[in-house]
């Protein structure tokens, strides 16, 4: 239990006296006219498991390459342990990177690939041997040690690349989409393995991923990027429940976006809530927000499908209830997603856990249903 408590308080980004291990200070990177990283400021702390999330081409790899030393910022500085790293060449940085393309040495065996970095340190043979064996066990490739990279599968290559970057136990490990080619089961195992490694070695991880589930599972914090900028940095739960923009809400998982106009006219002294008028003839939605919104501001209510309840009769205990018709049902085994069409044509998704057999579910196509959610279920966003 003490462990869990210790984990709970791991939040150095909130501690004013904590010294970040990595600091991006107004970093801009241009390739010709193209701005890949745009005036980016970011702190990453020691022992963090920091995820970069964003669409392809938003600059994730470029950030990694600047940390590893293969690109230099056009403007701004990057500090590692308080030192400007601009003048330090890649081979002198206590940073290892796992390349998106793996970059395994084709002329060396799996064993020699993993031993490559250790040999450069001039360790003695036994230490190198032990370490390589340890890494091979970790990635379950003991049997393939003597194969060349072209003689193993894509997933195995990815694990060799991972083992090679882990072998030197660096202070900072950069992983560029490290688990993309693994099948789901092995990926989950490796994720937990990575978290274990992180706990035992205290290495700081920066990981690029496409997979938001992966980002949620492993990260201490997640940064969502768009066009060279960081849109939001937060813990996984906050970024999921309190996104600061439609972009972030949309990027992480499934979400309903209901657009409308904010109004506090009928609220009286209640400044914690707002009415959202989203369609003609529908009563306004009632949502909790601390934002200071002028009358008539265009807002979006972002609400996750699993927070929307679907019932046959109008619920009496909730302020927000909308009537609609079941348009489509997506059965996913453990859960079902109902696509419900509102009178105005908008589709709202509601998710329910399938605690009963599917044959006995309560709703079917074209059924008239009620959708309801609480005032705190959604996030009020302004673009």
């Amino acid at each position: 239990m003490a462990d869990a408590a210790a984990q709970q308080v791991f939040a150095p980004w909130n501690a004013p006296e904590a010294k970040p291990i990595i600091q991006f200070r107004n970093v801009t990177k241009r390739f010709g006219d193209f701005t890949a990283i745009d005036d980016l400021t970011l702190d990453i702390h020691e022992k963090e498991f920091f995820s970069l999330l964003g669409p392809s081409g938003c600059g994730k790899t470029t950030m990694m390459r600047m940390l590893a030393g293969f690109e230099t910022p056009t403007e701004g500085t990057i500090l590692l342990d308080g030192q400007d790293i601009a003048p330090v060449p890649p081979n002198k940085r206590a940073v290892n990177m796992m390349f998106q393309s793996y970059a395994l040495f084709p002329h060396l065996s799996v064993w020699d690939n993993i031993a490559f970095g250790l040999r450069r340190e001039g360790l003695d043979k036994d230490r190198i041997g032990n370490r390589v064996e340890e890494m091979l066990r970790l990635v379950q490739l003991g049997k393939f040690a003597q194969r060349k990279p072209h003689q193993i599968s894509g997933g195995q290559r990815q694990r060799v690349a991972l083992a090679r970057s882990l072998a030197k136990a660096p202070k900072l490990l950069l992983l560029d989409e490290p688990l993309g080619a693994l099948d789901k089961k092995l990926r989950q195992e490796t994720q937990f393995e990575l978290m274990d490694i992180q706990e035992t070695t205290g290495t700081t991880f920066v990981i690029v991923t496409h997979d938001q589930e992966e980002a949620m599972t492993v990260s201490s914090r997640v940064a969502v990027m768009d066009h060279g900028k960081i849109v939001q940095v937060d813990t996984p739960d906050r970024i999921y429940e309190e996104p600061n923009s439609v972009y972030v809400a949309d990027f992480l998982g499934d979400v309903n976006i209901i657009r409308g106009k904010a109004s506090r006219k009928d609220m009286g002294a209640d400044t914690d809530h707002v009415h959202i008028h989203f369609a003609e003839g529908q009563s306004p939605l009632w949502a909790a927000t601390k934002r200071d919104l002028a009358e008539g501001t265009e807002v979006a209510l972002a609400i996750r499908p699993e927070k929307v309840t679907i019932t046959r009769d109008r619920p009496t205990d909730r302020n927000n209830a909308i009537r609609g018709k079941v348009h489509d049902i997506a059965y996913l085994g453990n859960i079902s997603t109902y696509h419900v069409e509102l009178p105005g044509g908008q589709i709202i998704k509601a998710q329910t856990a399938n605690t009963r057999r599917v044959a006995r579910r309560s709703f079917t196509w074209e059924d008239e249903v009620w959708l309801s959610f609480t005032d705190t279920a959604g996030a009020v966003l302004v673009d």
């Binding site: 590893a68 293969f70 290892n96 990177m97 390349f99 970059a103 040495f105 060349k148 990279p149 072209h150």
Partner: protein, 269 residues
Amino acid sequence: MRRLSWFNAVSLTLGFAFLYIPMLILIVYSFNGGKLVTVWAGFSTKWYGELFRNEAFLDAALNTLKVALLSSTFATVLGTMAAYTIVRGGRFFGRTLFSGMIYAPLVMPEVITGLSLLLLFIAIGLDRSIITIVLAHTTFSMCYVSVVVSSRLVTFDRSLEEAALDLGSTPFEAFRLVTLPIIAPAVISGWLLAFTLSLDDLVIASFTAGPSSTTLPIKIFSAVRLGVSPEINALSTILISIVAVGVITTSLMSKRAIMRRQKEEQEAI
């Protein structure tokens, strides 16, 4: 196998005939027993015997071999370095000029190259000897090496070198341990090319050779001016065999090795 149409068959025959009948005649007459080159007087290997007793020819052959070995090795080192700088050096000052200039000797008439080198050696007071031939051959064959090696480097995945740096090797170690082993087949075929170029060069060698340092092509050329002897035929036959057996098979082998390496590299990504 596809059958050739009659037109293709004829062109092929004519082409081969055109290329190889002269050599075939030369080889056949090297086994001629008589003194006259053009009159067949029975099979004999006596001219081969004569040849091995002719010290001037043996000396020239030895010189040629020394020059070819040394100059192709130097040319390979310099040419590989030049190729690496051009392909990997980024946009350094004078890069375009350098990469253009390095290929200039490819199109320069040999007579001009030879003459300019001769003038240089005279100007700096370097006596003509084997050394001057080696220098001259290095100069003109290194651009061939650099063409071969740079065409390989262009397709070489840069992230391999970055990975080596990332794992703590110095740029030189990255080159020695990662780049060089992977491009080795191209470097070897560059060396072979330089070796054969040096082996059969007549023009540049005649400008830069001293009286005591003739190479085989020079020797043959001057001997032929006094009349073709069966001995020359024998010598040429030996040269043809060396070239055919040695160089062609190794270059085929290295071509296959290049292809295999490239395949491995692509598959490893």
